[in-house]
């Protein structure tokens, strides 16, 4: 099976600091991949490199055999990499419905003059977007909040808004940066359900960063472990779970003396 998203020999320096070294990734269509590692290992940096927030110093990134390295973040996003953020990145003066609508930006064709004069094309496209947004809101169980300001929502619902917003960009690969950070156990279970559902309904590949092992082991088909910017182990969950190097990175070396 050919890879949907593939990263080859990606290295990145922040000034003199080597943040990521020789990183490789292949994501097959509909595969759920996890990226784990201690704090400061460079997981979010890898997300930012692939999604175009930074441009990697070396290496290649291709999406469906098309180079996306060096493109602007919004172009990469429009090509099919949707993402959520570690700390919620919602627009605080906007209501929930508008959040979802905004993520359709790249799918609009009416242009600036269409919006100035509210042309029929503009009205038709906006109506379509609205319809699609309501569908997503329903799917993520936040329809009842549609007209509320996003800051008034409970935390779990805000997370769902972020997911729904990412899905509105029609991604081929969905990047989730610690989707369960700060969640209660109940919300966690709900989140697993939602991610499974998204995976099935949208046939999307998922790449996620997570700290909670239960979550990662439950969901992922393939796991990479990152320590100090380098992959120390990768493979199916069972393999990673028993890998001595991974255990060492997380718990420290066993004292044998």
């Amino acid at each position: 099976m050919s890879a949907l998203l593939s990263v080859k020999n990606m290295t990145h320096y922040f000034g003199g600091l080597r943040a990521v070294h020789n990183y490789n990734l292949n994501i097959a269509p509909q595969q759920i991949t996890g990226l784990i590692g201690p704090n400061g290992a460079g997981k979010t940096t890898i997300f930012n490199l692939i999604t175009g927030v930074y441009t990697p110093t070396e290496g290649t990134i291709t999406l469906e055999n098309e180079n996306i390295k060096g493109l602007e973040t919004n172009e990469i996003a429009a090509k099919g990499l949707g993402r959520t953020f570690q700390n919620l990145a919602l627009w605080r003066h906007m209501n929930v419905l508008d959040h979802i609508k905004m993520a359709h930006y790249s799918q609009l064709t009416y242009g600036l003059f269409g919006s100035f004069f509210n042309t029929p094309t503009c009205r038709r496209e906006e109506a379509q977007v609205e319809e699609n947004s309501y569908r997503l809101l329903e799917l993520f169980d936040i329809k009842q909040h549609a007209n509320q300001n996003v800051t008034n929502l409970p935390y779990g619902a805000q997370r769902r808004v972020e997911m729904a917003r990412a899905m509105a960009t029609n991604p081929k690969v969905l990047f989730l940066d610690e989707p369960t950070a700060g969640m209660t156990p109940d919300e966690l279970v709900q989140m697993i359900k939602i991610i499974r559902q998204v995976h099935e309904d949208f046939k999307v590949a998922i790449f996620l960063i997570e700290h909670r092992m239960k979550f990662v082991m439950d969901l992922c088909q393939y796991i990479q472990t990152l320590v100090f910017g380098e992959i120390i182990a990768e493979g199916p969950p069972e393999e990673i779970q028993n890998n001595p190097e991974v255990i060492e990175a997380y718990l420290g070396k066993e004292d044998l003396t």
Binding site: N74, A78, M102, Y105, S115, V129
Partner: protein, 439 residues
């Protein structure tokens, strides 16, 4: 408070059409009897221009007369007619609801303009105030696009205005006026009013081009630093014009033909409000808000942040340029000193007083600061103590301005008020409607 609530309850059944009708009656009363009877018997020297504010401050003895005049001419007729006429204005408003929204809005606007025209027609001073207020609305709405919706702190609005004012003035002077600087007119003067809109558009375009000088740095910096850059832009424009003797330099440029009568300015103002409203309520325009609130998230959601920033600046500057062009043709004289820090303070006061991220807020801000400024004119120096104090109090109680983060809902504004279905749905506080339905 009790009185206010009662008042609200009694008048909650009056649709916009009713208020307009009441105002029309008031204006007609003033037009026909204001001078001959009412002000004569109240001992006023002439019709009070701004609801008696000027007379009251100049001659305190006239206070009872001026208040009496306001009551007899405005308050009582408006309230009475508005209330009594609900019997037929409500059904009329209901029938307008069945029309397409734009038709209904247009009818209301024409009606409103007729009233404004009659009111202002009483004397030239009123005409000037109304013209300048309308231009201020254009300026405030347009700076709100940059400072409110886009969330930058731009200080270059007078600069944009100057670009628009000078560009359109040069065009009209070269083409239609026998001028000292530019020589004889190239076209017959009768073409003037038809070419004038294009001159204004050219002024707007010049301002939009100039705004790129501020927009491009905004890709890399924002907040205080961008504010400084935009301030620098304003001074660059001012000193450039001062040193260009071809266009009059510091002496300024006069003799613009009078192509900007009240109806023309009114049409441009409404056009500005309509276009800005369309823009900011579309997804393209809401992108401005997303860039303000979280740029990284906007990028990841496929929003082109650079294009968005450029659009915000160019669009805001365009309308500032149009406003500047109208301004030049109203005063028939401009000089670089007009587009300096004082003008900036005025524009910023209007937008922050009225409310960020809201067109209604901008209109309220522009109208109130303008009218207040005129009304308090007799106080001279104290005016500049009172207006800033009001601003400070607004900022204490409403940090984002009077009416912020609210959009116009024309449908709701214009609809009939005795339709119980309408009332309960949108306004659960309305007790009248609940009584009617027996809820």
């Amino acid at each position: 408070m009790e009185f206010a609530r009662k008042f609200k309850r009694v008048f909650s059944t009056v649709p916009m059409l009713g208020w307009l009708l009441g105002t029309l009656v008031a204006v007609l009363i003033e037009y026909y009897w204001g001078y001959d009877y009412i002000s004569y018997y109240l001992g006023l020297p002439k019709i009070p221009v701004l609801f008696g504010a000027l007379i009251m401050l100049k001659k305190p003895m006239m206070i009872p007369g001026a208040i009496g005049y306001d009551m007899i001419v405005y308050v009582i007729p408006i309230l009475l007619v508005a209330k009594v006429s609900t019997r037929f204005t409500n059904p009329l408003a209901a029938s307008f609801e069945r029309l397409p929204l734009w038709t209904s809005v247009l009818i209301h606007l024409v009606f409103f303009y007729a009233i404004l025209h009659l009111w202002a027609g009483i004397n030239d001073y009123r005409v000037l105030i109304v013209k300048l207020t309308l231009i201020s609305i254009i300026l405030t709405v347009s700076i709100n696009v940059i400072n409110g919706y886009q969330g930058e702190f731009s200080c270059s609005h007078p600069g944009f205005m100057a670009l628009g004012a000078y560009t359109s003035s040069i065009i009209t002077l070269v083409l239609f006026v026998n001028d000292k600087i530019f020589g004889t007119a190239l076209l017959p003067a009768s073409f003037g009013p038809w070419i004038f809109p294009f001159a204004l558009l050219a002024g707007g375009a010049a301002a939009a081009l100039g705004s790129l000088l501020v927009a491009v740095p905004s890709f890399r910096t924002r907040g205080d630093y961008l504010a400084i850059i935009s301030l620098a832009f304003m001074f660059i424009v001012k000193s450039a014009v001062e040193n260009l003797n071809v266009i009059g330099g510091a002496r300024g440029m006069g003799g613009q033909p009078d192509y900007a009568p009240l109806p023309i300015i009114f049409i441009w103002t409404m056009l500005c409000i309509w276009v800005v409203h369309n823009f900011v309520s579309s997804i393209m325009g809401k992108a401005l808000n997303t860039v303000r609130d979280d740029e990284a998230a906007s990028e990841s959601m496929t929003i082109k942040t650079r294009k968005t920033k450029m659009t915000a600046f160019m669009f805001g500057a365009f309308w500032a340029g149009v406003g500047g062009g109208l301004f030049a043709h109203v005063l028939a004289y401009i000089n670089p000193g007009m587009f300096s820090i004082n003008r900036l303070a005025e524009i910023l006061a209007m937008v922050y007083f009225g409310g960020l991220n809201s067109i209604v807020g901008s209109i309220v801000g522009a109208v109130s600061i303008n009218v207040l400024g005129e009304a308090l004119r007799p106080l001279e120096l104290f005016k500049w103590i009172i207006i800033p104090l009001i601003l400070i109090f607004v900022m204490i109680f409403r940090p984002y301005g009077l009416i912020s983060f609210k959009e116009i809902n024309a449908k709701r504004l214009l609809r009939s008020k005795n339709n119980p279905k309408n009332l309960v749905k949108s306004d659960p506080m309305n007790t009248m409607a609940k009584d009617k339905l027996g809820v």
